[in-house]
Structure formats: structure tokens, C-alpha cells
């Protein structure tokens, strides 16, 4: 059964031409990657473009994939680099237009208001802290995986996460008192 297999195993099968292995990998990681790209870029069209490019890059480089037990870090690294390339283009306006996420119909007015406040607070975080926070809480990566993706020591990642959470807490308290 493919769902029981590791990412590396699926990647090796995919390298040998097994399309279902790719489909399983995509099912596992497409959402996490897309969230990371959307949060980091702030634009849905960029997230779409970079997500597609990332998966196609994985596809084209599948024969060179070295199974080292960290497919997810490998995938997110590709996406991060592609996004950085896009943002480096001179005519690109880095101001994100992804203001709010779609709330579900059941969400109460209070929840909606809290979500908007939290969203604004995350966007105000320094980029490195925001990145670590998104990778951990929205994409589900471990500290070690985040360290690989952002190319920083695990302790640095932990520190960034601590600072990010502290700022969000403070923001949260301010809103509660207000």
C-alpha cells in the first residue's frame, strides 16, 4: 500500500515511472507547500505559479533524487528558492494582496474577528520568524526540517519560533484588553 510507504520510497518508485507514487506524494505535501508559499509571498497567483514550478522541478529532477529521509525539506527548499527568485525580479511589487482567508460559514463573528487579528499579527512578524511559524504551524514541519529548509541551526529556528509566539501572545493580550 502506497500510504504506508515513506516519502523516499515513493520518490524512488516515482523515479522509476510509477505515477501513483507521485500522486501519493502530492496528496501528502501539496497543501503544506501551498500554505507556506501563500503565507510567505502574500499573493495567491505567486503561490500558484511557484507551487506548479516546484512540483515540476521535482518531477524533472526525480532521477537525481538522493534518498536521505527528508523529502519534505527537499520539496520546501525548492519552493522557497523559486519564490526567492520570483521576488528578486526588479518589477515585482513585494506588497502582498492576500489580506484575508476565507472563513467557513459556521465561523462566528468573534472567531472571524480573532482570525483577522491573528492574520494581521502574523503578517507583522519579521520575515524569518513568520517563516518559521508558518512552516511549523501551517505546514507541519518539525524543527529539524525547518532548519534544513531555512538553512539555519535548529536552535536558531527554536529561538525564532519563541520570539514569534511571544509577539503573537502580546498582540493577543492587547486585543483582549482592548
Amino acid at each position: 500500500m502506497l500510504p504506508d510507504r515513506s516519502d523516499d520510497d515513493l520518490m524512488l518508485r516515482y523515479r522509476d515511472g510509477e505515477l501513483s507514487a507521485f500522486q501519493e506524494l502530492y496528496r501528502r505535501h501539496s497543501r503544506g507547500l501551498y500554505r507556506f508559499l501563500a503565507w510567505r509571498s502574500g499573493r495567491t497567483e505567486w503561490a500558484d505559479e511557484v507551487a506548479q514550478e516546484t512540483w515540476l522541478a521535482v518531477h524533472h529532477a526525480r532521477a537525481r533524487y538522493a534518498a536521505q529521509g527528508s523529502f519534505r525539506s527537499y520539496l520546501f527548499q525548492i519552493g522557497r528558492n523559486r519564490l526567492a527568485d520570483l521576488q528578486r525580479q526588479p518589477d515585482i511589487d513585494d506588497c502582498g494582496d492576500w489580506e484575508s482567508v476565507q472563513d467557513s460559514a459556521e465561523a462566528t463573528a468573534l472567531d472571524r474577528q480573532q482570525n483577522l487579528a491573528l492574520h494581521a499579527a502574523i503578517r507583522q512578524l519579521p520575515a524569518e520568524q513568520k517563516e518559521a511559524l508558518v512552516l511549523q504551524h501551517f505546514s507541519g514541519l518539525s524543527i529539524d526540517e525547518i532548519a534544513l529548509v531555512v538553512d539555519a541551526p535548529a536552535e536558531t529556528v527554536k529561538s525564532r519560533l519563541r520570539y514569534a509566539m511571544r509577539k503573537l501572545r502580546e498582540q493577543f493580550k492587547q486585543e483582549e484588553t482592548a
Binding site: 505515477l19 495567491t44 526525480r62 482570525n115 504551524h137 501572545r169
Partner: protein, 241 residues
């Protein structure tokens, strides 16, 4: 509750809130586009083992042999065509010259032929005309043998002058041989057509016999004052004078 415990509690609460936040999701169109691209790429077969990232560009088919050597072949074909057509063209050109000469002869023939006809031939013609018809039907006596009337004399009696068929231009070697074998060009030459007479004169010139040639030329001009003479021969004859 210690500050650390309080922070942990608040972090847990915050984490719960973060997890509850609605998140952006890839659209179905994006999923379909990625799958379609990859499926299309995988359909021909497994990727190359070395470097599938670089799509091997389809090699342009090597141009065929004919295409590569098009220019030299065209040149060679042109040369071959020229080599083949040149002799044909020369032959055609020579054939075109002969009828022109014949026509010139035909235009001048009636007066010239009568003039050129030797008196003996004219007399013979008159004698033949005067002979009664039954006599013509009589079998020819065994001796003396009948003297064949020269062709120009016979044709002279015809209402219109029919020039004899012009012989094809003989090669140079043949004309030299004929010049050597030809009997003394004298009275016999005057019996020929103007064209043949001129050819005989030319043969004399070729043979280096300028004296007889000049003599014949004088006689020819006297007999055929208006007959056109080729430029080359005219030049040679002028040099004699």
C-alpha cells in the same frame, strides 16, 4: 502557575487558534494542471537515468545527402547539360546555315545557271529538244555510249531553277583530301554550280595553289558577278589580288 507554565499554556492556546485558522488551499485547477503536465511527460516511458531535468532537445534531422550537396550537384548538372547540348547546338547551327546558302543560290540560279551553262551543254540541250520523240524511245545504240547530260543543264530546261541538293559540309580533312585528289581545276570547275566552284577555289587556296586559285576566281567572278561570296573566302581572294 509559574511564568513558564503560563507561557506554555498560552502557547498551547495560541497554537490551537493558529491551527483553527482557515488556510489557503491549492485549487483544483492547479492540481489538474500539475498532474496533466506530469502525466504527459511520463506517458512516453520512464525518464532517462542521467538527467531528465534537461529535456533532451529533439535533434534536428541531419540534412539528406542531396540537400547537403545541392549546390555542387546543381553546378555539375549545369556543366553536363552544357557539354551535351553544345554539339547538338553546333550541328543545328550548321544545318541552319546550309539552307540559307541554298536559298541564295536559288534566287540567283536562273540567270546565273544559264550564264554558267557552257555553250556545249546548251547546244546539247538544243539538240535534244530538236530530236523527234520517237527517236527518244528508240533503244540507245551500243556505241557510242550516251553522254549523260550534266545535271545543271537538264535543270536549266526546267521552268524554275532547282538548285542541286547542297552537300553537307565536309570535314576539313576530307576537303583537303578532295583538294589533293581533284583534277586540275580548270574547265571542269566552271561546270560546277557557283557554290561548288567557290569550294574548289577554296580548296586550291588551302592547298597553297594561289595561281590557279586566282585564275579560277577571275573566271568565277566573270561568270557570276553578283554571286555572294562568304566573307572569309572573299578576304582570302582579295589578298590574292
Amino acid at each position: 502557575m509559574t511564568p513558564v507554565d503560563k507561557d506554555d499554556f498560552e502557547d498551547a492556546e495560541l497554537a490551537r487558534r493558529l491551527a483553527a485558522m482557515p488556510q489557503p488551499e491549492p485549487s483544483a485547477e492547479l492540481d489538474a494542471a500539475i498532474f496533466a503536465h506530469i502525466q504527459k511527460d511520463l506517458s512516453p516511458g520512464p525518464a532517462a537515468a542521467n538527467d531528465p531535468a534537461e529535456e533532451p532537445a529533439a535533434k534536428a534531422p541531419r540534412p539528406s545527402l542531396l540537400r547537403r550537396y545541392r549546390a555542387p550537384l546543381a553546378f555539375a548538372a549545369s556543366l553536363a547539360g552544357i557539354m551535351i547540348l553544345m554539339p547538338v547546338w553546333r550541328t543545328t547551327q550548321q544545318k541552319e546555315i546550309v539552307p540559307v546558302e541554298t536559298r541564295i543560290i536559288a534566287e540567283d540560279a536562273p540567270s546565273a545557271n544559264i550564264e554558267s551553262a557552257p555553250p556545249s551543254a546548251v547546244v546539247a540541250d538544243k539538240k535534244l529538244d530538236a530530236m523527234p520523240a520517237p527517236k527518244m524511245e528508240m533503244p540507245a545504240p551500243p556505241s557510242p555510249p550516251p553522254v549523260p547530260a550534266p545535271a545543271p543543264a537538264v535543270t536549266a530546261a526546267a521552268p524554275e531553277y532547282e538548285p542541286p541538293a547542297a552537300p553537307p559540309p565536309a570535314p576539313v580533312a576530307e576537303s583537303d583530301a578532295r583538294a589533293r585528289q581533284a583534277p586540275a581545276p580548270g574547265i571542269e570547275a566552271s561546270h560546277q554550280s557557283p557554290k561548288e566552284w567557290l569550294e574548289a577555289i577554296e580548296r586550291l587556296l588551302d592547298a597553297g595553289e594561289t595561281g590557279p586559285a586566282a585564275e579560277q576566281w577571275k573566271r568565277f567572278r566573270k561568270a557570276h558577278p553578283g554571286y555572294p561570296v562568304p566573307d572569309t573566302l572573299a578576304g582570302r581572294l582579295k589578298a590574292l589580288e
